[in-house]
Symmetry: C2
Subunit: 430 residues, 2 copies
Amino acid sequence: MELKIISAEQFRLERATFHTNADEPHFDKSVLEIIDTVRKEGDSGIRQLTQQFDGVDVAELTVTMEEFAVASQQVEQDFVKAIRQAEENITAFHRCQVEQSWFTESQPGIVLGQKVTPIEKVGIYVPGGKASYPSTVLMNAIPAKLAGVKSISISTPPGPDGSVSPYVLVAASMLGINRIYKIGGAQAIAALAYGTETVEKVDKIVGPGNAYVARAKKWVYGDVAIDMIAGPSEICIVADETANPKFVAADLLSQAEHDEEASTYCITASPTIAKNIAFEVQHQLKEFERKDIAQASIRNKGRIIVVKNEQEAFEIVNMIAPEHLQLMINNPTDKVMNIHHAGAIFIGNYSPEPLGDYFAGPNHTLPTNGTARFSSPLGVYDFVKRSSIIHYSKKALMDASESIACLAETEGLHGHANSIRIRKENEYAK
Amino acid sequence: MELKIISAEQFRLERATFHTNADEPHFDKSVLEIIDTVRKEGDSGIRQLTQQFDGVDVAELTVTMEEFAVASQQVEQDFVKAIRQAEENITAFHRCQVEQSWFTESQPGIVLGQKVTPIEKVGIYVPGGKASYPSTVLMNAIPAKLAGVKSISISTPPGPDGSVSPYVLVAASMLGINRIYKIGGAQAIAALAYGTETVEKVDKIVGPGNAYVARAKKWVYGDVAIDMIAGPSEICIVADETANPKFVAADLLSQAEHDEEASTYCITASPTIAKNIAFEVQHQLKEFERKDIAQASIRNKGRIIVVKNEQEAFEIVNMIAPEHLQLMINNPTDKVMNIHHAGAIFIGNYSPEPLGDYFAGPNHTLPTNGTARFSSPLGVYDFVKRSSIIHYSKKALMDASESIACLAETEGLHGHANSIRIRKENEYAK
C-alpha cells in the first residue's frame, strides 16, 4: 500500500518535528535580488526577469482590450454559465461578512466608535504557467469588491507565447477588472509592492503562488499588507462506518493531485475502514489522470491515522489544524464544536472539498500548514481596515483628567500629562 | 523656530521619498543569531543573552508569586483606581467588537457559515528598561480576554536588578495573568514563537518594542501570527481658528516626547495659526521635562504644513495615513468621512491623544508609519480566527455537480471533478 496506516502514537511522534514554515534561505538570495532589480529598474527589470524565468519577451506588460475580446470568444458557454453561478454563490456568502461602522454614546459627552474603510488599492496574484485558475480571480476579487476596494489589479505569469489564460481574462472581465499585468513570480510581488512605470503600487497583495511568490510576500510584508504566506495544500478527513471508502479515497486524491508536497490525512477509529480506504486509493490511482503527482504526494505526505475513538480523532485534527477538514461521520453537525482549528469544515458525505474550492461560496483561500491555529479564510474583513473614533466633551475630559494624568506620569510621560493639564488650567483660569 | 513651517507642495516633495518600512539589514544578522540561539539552547541561551543585553543574571525566568505580592504593596492607590477605570472603559469599548459565529440556510439542503474560535495561546511583549508600561498590558490583554483566549503570557525585560515593574505586575494581576517572563528583546520574541523549557510556545505575539523586537517579529511571522510591525509613533493635528494653539502645541509635544524618531505633523490653512503654534511649541519646550528627546523629534520630524483649504488638509492627512489624527477644527464630526486612512481619529479640542493612549477605551496599539492605509487598531478581531462551514445535502450536490466538474476541468484538476462525479455515479448506479 502506498498510503501509510499508522497509529495515533506514531503520528504524534512524527508531528513532534513538524514546523509550520520551513526557513528557505536558499531562495532568499535570489528573491531579494529580484525585488531589488524591480525596485531599481522598473519595467525594464521586469521584462528582463520575464525573459529569464518565463522564457518570453513581453513588450506590453498589460493585457490589451483586444486580448480581452479574443478571450471572450475562446471560452465555452458551459464555463461562462458555471462561473456565473459560482460568482453568485461566492457573493452571497461573502456579503454576510460586510462590516458596518459603529458609534456609541456611552455617557453624555463621550462618543466612541469604529469607522470601517475599504483598502484603496489591491493587487491579486493569479498563478499561471501550465494551468489556469479563474477560481482564484473570483475568490480574491469578490470579497475585495464587496469591501468597497476601488482599484483592483491582477498579475499573472504569461505563457510561452506571451498570452494569458482566456478563462482568467473572462473571469476578471466579468468582475469589471481590466488592469491585468503579464508578470509572474517574485517580480510580480515586487512590482505590486513598490510600483513601476506601468504597475501601480498597491496597499495589499493577495493570492496564492509558488515558493518564490510566497517568500517575496514575506519580504515585502510591512511595506504593504499581504493575505498570508501560503504553504502546500492539505486535507484531513475523519471517517467512520457511515463514510463510503470510495468517496473518501476520491477526496484524498483530489487533494493529492495539487502537488507532491500536498498532505492528505484520514483519521478513523476502525482498522478495517483504514484498510478499505487505503485499498480504494490504490485502486483509483491506477486510472488517475494526474497519477504521478498524486502518487508522490500520497507516498510522502499521505497518512491514515487509526485512533482509539472519536475524541482522539478530534484531538489529532486540532493538532494538525488542517486547511480542509471533512467530517464524514455519524451526526457530523453535532460534532463541529469539537473542532478548534481548521480553515474550512465540510460536513457530511456530500460536501467534498472541491465543492468549496469552486462553488459553494466560502473562500478557497485558507490557512495552510497548521496556521489555522491563528489565521482565517480570506474574507471581506481582509479588504477593510478600521479607525477608532474618540470624542470627549470639555466636561467629560475634565472629569477624567486626573486619572489620565496619573497613568501618564506612572509611565514617565509628563508631556502626555501636560496635554491634559493644560486644558484643565485653561478652564480654571477663566 | 525649531518646528518647520512648510507648504503643501514642499511636503509632497519630501513625501515622495518616503518609505513605510526602511530595510534594516544591519539588524538582521544579530536578530537571526539571537533567534537561532534561543531555538537551539532554550533557557540557557536566554540567560546568556539577558546577561549580554540587559546586564543581569536572571536565574528564575518567570516572575514568582512573592514578586507579585511585593508589587501590590509598592503601587499607589491612585494608580490602582485610575487603572481600574481605564480597564472598565477599555473593556466596554472592546466588547462591541466581539464577533459571533453565524450560519445560513441559503437553499434547502445547503448550510453555510462561519465559526469564530479564539486563538488558544497569546504572548504579549511589554517593553521595559527605563520606563514601565502598564497601559500596554491592558490594551493587549483585554481584547485577548474578550476574544476568549485561554492562555495569555507576558514577556518583559528585567531591570538592572532583575526585577519587573510593579505597575506592570499589578496590571497583569488585575487581569488574571500570572505567567510573566523576565525576558526582553529579540530573545523574548524567539522564545514565545518557538518555546523553551520554561517558555510556552504561543500562537500569536502582540505588543510594541524596539527595533530588535520589531525585526524579530518580522522574522518569526508565518511560524506564529503577529499583530503588526510597529514603527515610530506619529501624530497629525488639523487645526483652524477654533483650535487653541497652546493645546495644539502641548499635543504635538506629547507625541514628540516618545522618541527622537516620532513624527509630529500639524496642518492648517492659516499662516498665522501656523506661526502661533510654532511659537507655542518653542515656548513650552523651555520647561519641558523630556526636553532633549522632544526637541530632537520636533527638529527632525516636526512639520507644520500650510495648505490652501480644508480639502487640501484632508488630502495631506490621507497621504500621511497617521497613527493618531486630531481634528481641532470647526464642526469636526461632520468632516470625519473625509478621512480614509488613520489609526485613531480624535475629534474636537478636548480629545487629545493621551486620552486615547490610556483611558477612553479604544486601543492604543495603532498602525504607524503610513500603514493605516491597510492596517487596523489592535482589537478583539486580532485574537480570533474563523473557520468556514459547508454542508450540502445529497440532492444539493447532485444539482451542482456539473457546474463544479466543469470548473475543475477548466483548471485541469480532474481528481477534483472525479470527487464530485464518483458520488453522482454511485447515486445513479443504485
